[in-house]
């Protein structure tokens, strides 16, 4: 695959591109029977392309099973990509191996959803946060490690005196802070935040989001923020990509997406989110989608959204729409939406 999609080529603005994902695919094979015949694929990520610019937060939203988490994990090579390129600072992460991969991957870190499952219960905070420092030979003595870990804990708002404690002694919000400290340890350029707040209580969510924003300003980080909470994504993201069944349906800047969504799926998704204001809720007209998400093992023919789309017509069942630039920086994959030029 050498052809680049519309998304990654046409954006020739002056902004520096940190990550360029091109036609990324991740299929999980379905095997059956004694001989484990390959009978099909779960197309978790099916040809996803986007750019991430330096210092921005790109929101990746969609319902469960839409492939947003798999996209994040495939970028960082926790899953081997089936196809496509992941261009990070001039190197293709998708084909790197061994030492080279490890060296480059330092610059991309991940924060996980479940702060209870993502920290080893047998390691204390010093070792959890300090482990990456040792692996990459950033610190050489125990004293250096301690100093750096203390510095990192302070950055995320934890008392360095907690260094010798174990994860079970912390609350969910504090554990997520430990996870963030570990992600920061190697001075990354890009952090992939995979639903970092969805396991936390409402009053703690705002604390963690504020911390992420502060760190972004202080250290100049770039984020890919994966979430299903569209309200929080609106708050934190500069641009937002909406995924459905392994594909990007719409991608544009925050304000445009939330005030002028073009894709029928984005419209329905936004209208389904409850708004914490009874006066607004009273007057709201909801678009209620019928049915459930189809299985990514058997996506429908034509447009992936055609089984639930209130606006689907003949062509949607025949031909798959491609993601095209409708207005500057606004991409949409729908037969009903045509470029204005």
């Amino acid at each position: 695959m050498t052809t680049e999609s519309a998304v990654t080529t046409s954006e020739t603005t002056s902004r520096e591109v940190v990550l360029k994902v091109n036609n990324l695919k991740k299929y999980f094979p379905i095997r059956r029977g004694v001989f484990q015949h390959h009978v099909g694929d779960v197309k978790a990520v099916d040809g996803v392309s986007f750019n991430v610019y330096k210092g921005e937060t790109l929101g990746l939203v969609g319902e469960s099973g839409c492939g947003k988490t798999t996209t994040g994990r495939t970028i960082i090579r926790l899953y081997e990509p089936t196809e496509g390129q992941v261009d990070f600072q001039g190197v293709d992460l998708a084909t790197l191996s061994g030492r080279e991969l490890r060296k480059t991957r330092r610059k991309i870190q991940m924060i996980f959803q479940d702060p209870y499952a993502s920290l080893s219960p047998r390691m204390n905070v010093l070792n959890i946060v300090g482990e990456p420092l040792e692996i990459h030979h950033i610190v050489n003595t125990p004293g250096e490690k301690k100093d750096r870990v203390a510095e990192l804990l302070e950055m995320v708002g934890l008392d360095p005196a907690f260094m010798n404690r174990y994860p079970h002694e912390f609350s969910g919000g504090q554990r997520q802070r430990i996870g963030i400290a570990r992600a920061l340890a190697l001075d990354p350029e890009l952090i992939i935040c995979d639903e970092p707040i969805s396991a936390l209580d409402v009053s703690i969510q705002a604390q963690v989001v504020n911390l992420l924003e502060e760190l972004q300003e202080k250290v100049g980080l770039t984020y890919i923020f994966i979430a299903h909470d569209l309200s929080m994504v609106r708050h934190i993201s500069n641009r937002v990509a909406v995924m459905y069944l392994g594909k990007i349906m719409e991608l544009t800047d925050r304000e445009t997406l939330y005030t002028n969504p073009l894709h029928p799926y984005t419209e329905a998704l936004l209208s389904a989110v409850p708004i914490p204001n009874p006066a607004v809720e009273e007057k709201r007209q909801r678009i209620i989608l019928e049915g459930d998400l189809p299985s990514p093992a058997k996506p429908p023919k034509g447009c992936n959204f055609n089984t639930r789309c209130p606006k689907a017509f003949d062509r949607c069942f025949e031909e798959e729409p491609t993601l095209v630039e409708v207005e500057e920086g606004h991409y949409c994959a729908c037969h009903l939406v045509q470029p204005s030029k």
Binding site: E63, S64, S171, G173, Q174, D201, V202, S203, I204, Q205, A206, Q207, V209, N210, E213, H228, L230, S231, M232, R234, H235, R254, E255, Y258, A268, L269, L270, S271, A272, V273, P274, I275, P276, N277, P278, A279, V280, E281, E282, R284, R286, I288, L289, D292, L293
Partner: protein, 336 residues
């Protein structure tokens, strides 16, 4: 609305008085629900909101008498349903109340449905037991119920097992089961938390429609202030086992007077508008409910706290008609 003529013992459909539930665990006594009181009238939708550990689910399980004893114990209080105290009933009598008078649906339908029995069987069983229907009647009624909650080809789906249903369909089946005996009150404990937003919207729309059709009274327990805004007329905000603010949904959202409610509402981003700058955040963590509770449980996180808060729990007092708040400084508290 309450009909005063046909309910002689109590003018309310449900009246919870000073309900107190504790758990006696090895780590100590967990003060899960600390003397909550409220009333519910026919046709009402009451939202109960709060974070994990605030006692909102335990309060519902206490009403249903589904608290595991031990370690749990309902220490004090009354739950008057049509004037009768449910806490005084024998286990046999209570079994007749559950399902037939008050039904409950849970967050995770997969753990509430029996995985080795068909969906149809599980509802038919309830109908035969509670309504005394024969097999054929029960089967027809079940198909009707599944149709009512929007399961397509309901007759064919009766013989499916829970794993053959999607998450949204399982929750619909749970609701059908809850409705099967025409309960007066439906208690929904975070029924949409595990679901995607588009499916959540379907379920909320369904409950609203059913309420309209059947005149059901609903208690909707959730941590999501957005869901309550669109669904309930009244809301109880809970914190550390106390109701700390209660009133009409519109008033609470427009004019909250407890620092916790103010903080919660302020910390929520909205999909409809974007406030520039940082989100308001409540400092600190929810309290540990083990051990003796003294003073206002929110005091350690509160920006309005005064000396008194540390040792004396403020009573719920009316700040405007029908709007009660438990805060010593309630007159000073303003929306963030």
């Amino acid at each position: 609305m309450a009909d005063h003529t046909i309910q002689p013992a109590s003018e309310h459909l449900l009246e919870v008085k000073n309900l107190t539930t504790r758990f006696y665990t090895e780590e100590g006594v967990v003060h899960a629900v600390n003397g909550i009181s409220y009333t519910l009238d026919e046709g009402d939708t009451l939202g109960v909101v709060g974070e994990s550990g605030c006692g909102k689910s335990v309060h519902a399980l206490s009403i249903m008498r589904l608290i595991p004893i031990p370690p749990g114990k309902i220490e004090a209080g009354e739950v008057l349903f049509r004037g009768q105290n449910l806490l005084d009933l024998s286990e046999n009598e209570m079994r007749r109340v559950r399902g037939a008078e008050i039904a409950m649906i849970f967050q995770d339908p997969m753990t509430s449905l029996n995985p080795v029995k068909t969906i149809g069987f599980q509802i038919i069983e309830a109908l035969k037991l509670h309504q005394g229907m024969d097999k054929q009647q029960a089967r027809e009624r079940t198909a009707e119920l599944l149709h009512l909650v929007g399961i397509p080809e309901a007759e064919q789906r009766l013989d499916d097992y829970p794993h053959q249903f999607s998450g949204g369909m399982r929750q619909r089946a749970m609701i059908a089961m809850g409705l099967s005996c025409n309960p007066n009150i439906l208690i929904a404990d975070e029924p949409t938390t595990a679901l995607d937003v588009t499916i959540q919207a379907q379920i909320i729309e369904l409950v609203k429609r059913l309420q309209h059709q059947l005149g059901m009274t609903v208690i909707w327990i959730t941590h999501d202030l957005g869901v309550v805004a669109g669904l309930a007329q009244r809301v109880n905000v809970m914190y550390a086992g106390h109701i700390i603010e209660s009133g009409a949904v519109k008033r609470i959202y427009e004019n909250p007077h407890h620092p916790y409610t103010v903080g919660l509402l302020g910390s929520l981003p909205s999909v409809g508008t974007r406030k520039p700058g940082r989100l308001y955040s409540i400092p600190g963590e929810p309290p540990d409910l083990i051990g003796d509770q003294k003073g206002c449980p929110f005091a350690p996180r509160c920006t309005y706290k005064v000396e008194r808060c540390a040792y004396e729990m403020p009573p719920l007092e009316e700040i405007e008609p029908g709007h009660i708040v438990a805060c010593w400084e309630k007159d000073k508290v303003r929306k963030a």
